[in-house]
Assembly symmetry: C2
Homo-oligomer: 445 residues x 2
């Protein structure tokens, strides 16, 4: 055995904790709070965690509790969380996984990798910044004009709300400057479509944007990662849209009162958002049980790797679907489009998904244990929302006592940093064996 270096995941964990600490202190300043006095420590901590992890969950009414300065802080923290920290942390994560992958490649002699080489990192960060800036500018401009022209909001206020919402959308966060959220705009295509597209672009992931930028004319040459992410995202968007449209069509609490175009728009928005956006135009708490269960599933899957979205990620989910399919057919290799998926990658995906299930199950149990009168499905929805940094709510978060808020904070943190990364950071340093034990095949199933 040889001693290993400290796990790089610890650096990511510490960076996130540091950012949350700074955010908490800033939100505790009296100037951050509307009216007199300053925020309570827990409220500041929960809100900073929510912003840095780009969840958008709230325990207070964002519009009235925080001052204009506080709102600016939230926008900056969201941006820092979504782009600065998240993207960089995920890039760091990629480097870690490439280091592992490198070891694997040396052992197996594999030919290709995830399509992101070390030297490209600087280039990728610049690209991500450019995409972010351009997307947010377009959304902010449309939002501003629409508010000014149609809703008669003064130009300055309209522009600020436009920028704020653009930042929230691209970063898949869900804070709102209005107490009623965006429900005013439920039938407004000029507001909803740009915001939702912003959520999708922000949630697709830097490596995919990078590759599409380079090779847009040759999808056939895309890496498996890009094909899985793009194809999988389209499937999940369709599932979300059809589920909400079909199951909520006649629900008087959600799509029922809307006209047909309004139903379509609202289904598009509400079907997209669980993939980790955070705003809503209808009440998720009023949805039917089956819609709600599908939303929970979509939240768990989340968006693209190295994106502002959360969840176990689109590639993880679809890769595991291929693993199941391979096993059902009794084939030797997991093959996706003429590429064999490395066994180390399969195991990584298994660990990410199952550890996600374990964390969500534990969080839900703890929440049920420390509260009373909360049903399992509401607890699960809220914990899943936090874990996937979706930030949606059935209304439970606002009612939770301090212990419950801490549980959700922990879920947001673990979900954002990544289950495997958090667990790795907590694990003892690994000593790598230089020998291998004999193989055995226990009976499973």
């Amino acid at each position: 055995m040889r001693p290993a270096r400290p796990h790089p995941a610890r650096t990511v964990v510490v960076a996130f904790l540091g950012a949350i600490a700074v955010g908490t202190v800033l939100l505790l300043l009296p100037v951050s709070r509307a009216g007199s006095g300053s925020a309570s420590l827990l409220t500041a901590f929960f809100t900073a965690t929510s912003a840095i992890t780009t969840s958008g969950m709230t325990v207070v009414d964002t519009s009235t509790y925080w001052s204009d300065f506080g709102h600016v802080l939230l926008a900056v923290m969201t941006q820092a969380g979504g782009f600065g920290i998240t993207t960089l942390a995920t890039l760091a994560g990629l480097i870690v996984s490439q280091r592992l992958g490198l070891r694997g490649r040396m052992m197996t002699g594999a030919e290709t990798n995830s399509g992101l080489a070390h030297g490209e990192v600087r280039q990728v960060v610049i690209l991500a910044a450019a995409v972010m800036f351009a997307t947010e500018m377009v959304i902010a401009a449309i939002f501003t004009v629409r508010l000014r022209v149609t809703y008669d909001v003064p130009l300055g206020a309209a522009a600020w709300e436009g920028v704020f919402n653009a930042v929230q959308a691209f970063n898949n966060c869900g804070f709102s400057l209005r107490g009623t959220g965006l429900s005013t705009f439920v039938s407004d295509w000029w507001i909803c479509v740009p915001l939702t597209l912003g959520v999708i672009v922000g949630g697709i992931g830097v490596p995919v944007l990078h590759e599409i930028g380079r090779q847009s004319r040759r999808p056939a040459a895309w890496t498996t990662h890009t094909r899985l992410t793009v194809g999988g995202s389209l499937v999940l968007l369709a599932v979300g849209f059809v589920a909400v449209l079909a199951l909520e069509w006649r629900n008087s609490g959600t799509l029922g009162p809307l006209g047909v175009p309004g139903k379509i728009l609202a289904a598009f928005v509400q079907g997209t958002i669980p993939r980790s956006g955070g705003f809503n135009t209808v009440d998720y708490g009023a949805m039917n049980e089956d819609t709600s269960a599908i939303m929970i599933g979509l939240m768990f899957i989340g968006g693209g790797s190295a994106s502002t979205a959360g969840g176990i990620k689109v590639t993880t989910f679809f890769l595991l679907a291929y693993v199941i399919w391979t096993e059902v057919r009794g084939e030797r290799d997991v093959v996706i489009g003429r590429r064999r998926i490395a066994e180390a990658t399969q195991r990584q995906a298994t660990a990410v998904a199952l550890l996600g299930v374990a964390v969500v199950a534990t969080g839900t149990l703890v929440l049920l244990g420390i509260t009373s009168g909360v049903t399992t499905d509401r607890a699960l929805f809220e914990v899943m929302s936090a874990f996937s940094t979706s930030g949606l709510t059935t209304g439970l978060t606002a009612e939770l006592h301090e212990g419950g808020q801490l549980v959700l904070s922990a879920m947001m943190f673990i979900g954002r940093v990544g289950t495997v990364a958090v667990a790795s950071a907590l694990a003892l340093n690994t000593r790598h064996r230089l020998y291998r034990y004999p193989e055995e095949r226990p009976i499973v199933g």
Copy 2:
């Protein structure tokens, strides 16, 4: 590519369907039903499915709806399902997986396997019959004496109830000759302990019994399969016991009214049963939300491979826990007690667990979609109970309309035959590639 033989899983699926068809016809005979007329087709089908899959779920009151002849049929079907079909089918499944394993071994040059060679099958069947017969005899004898002496039941009736319950216990089924189930015996150690031990022995699995019989004095020489099953079962029994005892201690609907010894006994029974028994002495429907969630988890895991228990199986669950642990520590091999777990086995476990999740999620969604006024947690409990062939109920099954009963029947069938086996039987015949594609490593998580 070379054409493959038809998948052997189809044989198992057809055998189960045939047994259920025969059972349905027998239960439709007027002589099977108490009073006049005969059972409805759906009731007979549901009950036959429940008996053959050793679930024990009921849509009618077993004690009053079926005649004495019907009760004998249920005992025979339970026995046929639990021992005859289940054990043989599972042995067939083992042969299949060994055939696959053999291919894997030829490729990887692995040294050891699951400890069950082809030539041993006859020996294993005899052993299983002996263990079954001996266990049931002991339980039936204790039960009979106790009923006769303490409850003043006439000897003939006491002996019949003893035999009936012994068959139910060993086969992890849950039919009862009393309308109130076994709640009368909640504080009776002479009744509860033998029945619960019978559930445990029946649910440990033939390969493990076989190996313990051969090598009882050398646990150090046990295969990984036996060590995982025995160790894992002890852990799960402890979790179930502690969870029920701690969380239900003061619940007036469950353990609350009992004295301390009664609480301990009831926690032992109710903590063991979700692993796939089926009887109960307190009402699972009255349990707290968090206890109920833990019971759902225990049902999903289930008992030992090639046993009368259901679920994804103890080895599958703990093997995946080791996979996660290995990934978190960034190690190359999944090592359990100085044995490296084959990558093919890891992938098999992943497929079994995830396909299980997918089936239960789908079943729950369908049940929610076709019923109204059913909460997600109750639907999930009932679907999980059917899938894991546990047969526990919160009371929902008795209220379900025909569509809901069919959903649960499908869940019992899929759960008993095995998700991967059913899916394999449905899949197109596989053509094995004689070449391999280049390897790729998509980013996951």
